[in-house]
């Protein structure tokens, strides 16, 4: 009986999550492009060999990792501060929390247009500001060294509220008495943070980290509308490269290979992040005193 309740949902999940992975794995061992008339013809490991030698893929991968790493790191840092701020009770807190959620609720492409204008040289407000403080005009959206930072900024702006809410949820599960105990033992806020907050928050940080890392790795909407992958392909992400291979170059076989490889890589990276977090923030044992341990 219960099986029938689960079946429809299971079917959808299999078709949408599991099916594609098998399809990509299969397709990556075939040539399927405009040159084959859009029919899949087995070609052994040729796509994979090409991927290994494809300098552009590795460059895109590096750029995507750089984007994801910096963006997620910045987000978590800011999210913690915001969560700490929102954890206390003050008048108007609920309203501020709601307003801070707005960036997360807007579609990425809608605001990406806005960012194009804000970072515009020479007419945007950022340019005005940099000229005002004497830095001069920075060709933000045209300089390969700067454009990726603009994408990080736009991403952090949008996703920090989400991470902040997750951390806030975690903060609210920490009993107030623990902080009282530390204060009685003579500790300061920093020790509170290190010995209590972070360890107890670890599962939430983990959730936010893994979720955001995986999503940031697949960045697509933002890059396509804000920079189109340029300048000099410095902001191109692996998802964008896969998309172009399929829809611009009509090479489905190679696109599948890119997606498959990226999926495997992101799984490995998430695993590493998980282990890394365990090491970085050890949980403290409750038996020992907080400051002594």
């Amino acid at each position: 009986m219960t099986v029938f309740l689960l079946l429809p949902s299971l079917l959808f999940l299999l078709v949408v999550f599991v099916g594609p992975l098998f399809r990509y794995a299969w397709l990556s061992f075939h040539a399927d492009s405009v040159m084959t008339g859009l029919i899949a013809i087995p070609n052994g490991g040729a796509n994979w060999l090409r991927l290994v030698q494809d300098q552009r893929y590795w460059q895109d991968l590096g750029q995507t990792l750089r984007f994801a790493g910096v963006s997620v790191g910045l987000e978590l840092f800011l999210a913690l501060i915001i969560a700490l701020l929102l954890d206390q009770r003050w008048r108007g807190r609920d309203l501020v929390r709601t307003l801070a959620l707005i960036p997360w609720a807007l579609p990425t492409t809608v605001m990406a247009l806005g960012w194009r204008w804000i970072f515009n040289t020479p007419y945007g407000p950022i340019d005005y500001f940099t000229n005002l403080v004497g830095i001069g005009s920075l060709n933000i959206l045209g300089d390969p060294n700067l454009t990726w930072m603009a994408t990080v900024w736009a991403d952090v702006w949008k996703t920090t509220p989400f991470a902040a809410l997750i951390l806030l949820a975690g903060l609210q599960t920490i009993p107030v008495d623990l902080y009282e105990a530390v204060r009685l033992e003579g500790g300061n806020p920093l020790i509170c943070l290190r010995r209590i907050t972070l360890p107890l928050l670890r599962p939430y940080i983990l959730l936010a980290l893994l979720f955001r890392l995986a999503q940031a790795f697949g960045v697509f909407d933002l890059i396509q509308v804000l920079t189109g992958g340029g300048p000099a392909s410095s902001t191109e992400s692996v998802a964008l490269y896969a998309y172009w291979n399929a829809l611009r170059f009509l090479d489905f076989g190679y696109s599948s290979t890119i997606i498959m490889a990226s999926f495997l890589l992101i799984s490995v990276i998430c695993l590493i992040a998980w282990i890394g977090l365990q090491i970085l923030i050890p949980t403290h044992s409750k038996s020992r005193g907080v400051i002594k341990s």
Binding site: M35, G37, P122, P144, G230, L250
Partner: protein
């Protein structure tokens, strides 16, 4: 008694008339063929009046609708491809850029048109407009406008336009030194298809070749290829072109030239009309010529747009009617006079009245004679992508011209090999 029967008869006959006309209307409505064309935004706007005319002339038979697509060529192609990939495309006809043709044809998305346009029709086209309409022995595209890359210059600042790349730099620098203009030369340096067009003119100008599709010979890393890339990079280094040119597409270059900030601009023929508008600071002081090059090698990149019919369309004949209308002499004259789009029919180029009203037409005709098409291969999108990527690196000083072109060549080779084109 008789009155009511009479009234009944009147009512009955009125009713009958009503039914008949409704049926008639329905039958007629069903025979109105609805034809949809997809065009990039500027073309959709420019042909609006022509479409209205066509619908008026064919009222009750054909109703032509034009769907307005994105401006940027790549975005436009993405849209068309997504529609085609999904199966039944919601369009009958597509206004196609010259570089998409081999890919769409190889994918089997287009209806061959040889049965509808015979040799007489082809001969009526200007020679340059005949390029890029066929693939693999079939005619797939009928040209609407024959675009070619042009060098625009300020007639109030110089007697004759420069003929070689070195002259252009010298003239620019002296004008900049005299503070006549902020910048010497503005062009399209952003990483997109426009950059390939700019580069093609330069590599040909230095005597080289990008890719020959018949023998797959790549000329990017040879001397002319490297020289072309180096010359473009030096324009920015020497201050002849602004740093921001690495983010310029056609609108930005046009804007800069229009307000009088630059002495030279590379752009398509449409820019001429824009520059003669009342808000242009350089109105009346603009001349055009083909791109600077080594003597005898001056070329203009072919950028024509043409109409194609998609396979599986239910209204092939009606679409052809529409295509014929949009590309006939009077339509071309209208498009030229109102929007500056270059005609494709030789007769329009030779029209004495037109030549008198707009002498620039003669210049366009001359430029059309030296057009060069970009490599015609279904892999064009990929090799152009590789080239613009490296060029963008070179222009932003991330790499040297020699290294960049070497990488471009090896990547192009990789693409050709994995597509089975080369062994």
């Amino acid at each position: 008694m008789k009155q009511s029967t009479f009234i009944k008869k009147i009512l009955a006959s009125l009713f009958a008339v009503l039914i008949c006309s409704a049926v008639f209307g329905l039958v007629r409505a069903r025979t109105i063929e609805s034809v949809t064309f997809l065009m990039a935004a500027p073309f959709a706007d420019a042909t609006r009046d022509l479409v209205k005319q066509f619908n008026q002339e064919h009222r009750g038979e054909i109703n032509l609708q034009v769907v307005r697509g994105p401006l940027e060529t790549e975005a436009m192609s993405d849209l068309a491809i997504s529609s085609l990939l999904l199966g039944k495309a919601p369009f009958d006809g597509l206004l196609m850029d010259v570089t998409w043709l081999p890919k769409y044809a190889a994918a089997g998305w287009m209806e061959p048109l040889e049965d509808f346009f015979n040799e007489k029709d082809v001969d009526a086209l200007a020679i340059g407009a005949r390029e890029g309409n066929s693939y693999d022995g079939h005619l797939y595209r009928w040209p609407l406008t024959a675009d070619m890359g042009l060098l625009y210059y300020r007639t109030d600042l110089m007697e004759q336009p420069p003929a070689t790349p070195e002259e252009l730099v010298l003239v620019s620098q002296s004008l900049q030194k005299d503070r006549k203009v902020d910048w010497g030369y503005v062009w399209q340096g952003r990483q997109y298809e426009g950059l390939s067009c700019v580069y093609l003119e330069m590599i040909d100008g230095f005597g080289g070749d990008w890719l020959q599709p018949n023998n797959n010979h790549i000329g990017l890393d040879l001397d002319p290829g490297v020289q072309a890339a180096a010359w473009l990079q030096e324009l920015i280094d020497q201050g002849v072109s602004p740093n921001a040119v690495t983010n310029y597409a056609e609108p930005e270059a046009l804007q800069s030239f229009k307000v009088g900030d630059a002495a030279f601009m590379r752009n398509w023929p449409y820019a001429w009309t824009e520059l003669q508008k009342s808000d242009s600071a350089v109105k009346g002081n603009v001349g055009i010529t083909t791109m600077v090059a080594r003597p005898g090698h001056s070329t203009a990149t072919l950028g024509s747009w043409g109409l194609t019919v998609l396979k599986g369309s239910a209204h092939v004949n009606a679409s052809i009617e529409a295509i014929r209308f949009l590309t006939n002499e009077s339509s071309q004259k209208q498009l030229f006079l109102n929007h500056g789009y270059t005609p494709t029919q030789q007769s329009v180029f030779d029209d004495p009245q037109l030549l008198q009203d707009k002498p620039i037409l003669a210049e366009f005709g001359q430029a059309l004679k030296v057009v060069k098409a970009r490599p015609e291969t279904p892999l064009y999108a990929q090799i152009s992508d590789v080239l613009t990527r490296q060029l963008s690196s070179i222009l932003t000083r991330e790499t040297t011209p020699k290294d960049g072109m070497n990488v471009a060549t090896s990547h192009t080779n990789q693409i050709l090999i994995s597509a089975g084109e080369k062994l």
